[in-house]
């Protein structure tokens, strides 16, 4: 898994490339924690180049979402494939997250 981040106004766009699983999820979690630790605490996770995500990935997204909720931060997701959305649905996570179809709409939802 590779992470790359860039700023779009007040929003940090974090692009995830590759696999989010037991091996890599801790790195994603640490990155989200650090972005959400400092104002303006707005992060859009772009999964357009995601290979797959397992429950280890859901766990760090869940914790990041809680962190955001407790600190006045905001988290949104975009770029999810149909298969990835199926996993979010199975996990019951569709309604827990703001999920945008595109990066532009994701950024707009956080501004």
């Amino acid at each position: 898994m590779q992470l790359s981040e860039r700023k779009d106004n007040d929003v940090t766009v974090l692009e995830v490339v590759g696999r989010v699983d037991s091996v890599t999820a801790p790195d994603l979690g640490a990155k989200l924690t650090s972005i959400l630790a400092a104002p303006p605490r707005r992060v859009l996770v772009d999964f357009a180049r995601l290979e797959y995500i397992s429950s280890a990935g859901f766990r760090v997204l869940f914790l990041a979402s809680k962190q955001a909720g407790e600190t006045g931060g905001r988290l949104a997701l975009c770029g999810l494939s149909a298969k990835a959305l199926e996993l979010f649905s199975i996990a019951g996570f569709l309604k827990l997250f703001t999920i945008a179809p595109s990066r532009a709409e994701g950024v707009a939802s956080l501004r």
Partner: protein, 148 residues
Amino acid sequence: MSTVETSILNKIRDLSRIPDLVAQFAEEQGLSDDVVFGINVALDEMLSNIIKYGYTDDAIHEIHLRLTVAGPLLVVEIEDDGQPFDPCAAAPVDVDAPLEERKVGGLGIHIVRALCAEVGYARVDGRNRLVMKMLLNPETKKGSHAIE
């Protein structure tokens, strides 16, 4: 060959070898990206469970896995010498609970059950044997999880 086998050690880092093995097998067998996604997720869930919770000692253990294409099914078999653990008997997860009440434990097994047509478990000669069967053409699966 319609089968591939390997062994990994009970270390989370060793899981990083699995996706490349799956990718190579998928290419040989012409498996779809969606099936590859499912295999990788199912293997990560069950293997990480075994590695994290299966052993009470600090010794090195080997976990064996095998992938087989059998007719309309992809069969994933995992065998380990850890503590007895039947994922089929695990309590269900309430995935409809609101965020503040959600617990993330047990989610992996919940996902595996949803991805698989069948999950079977047996304890044989002091070893756990898990068999997960996935449909190679999931659109034929009844009650699949459509996006709302």
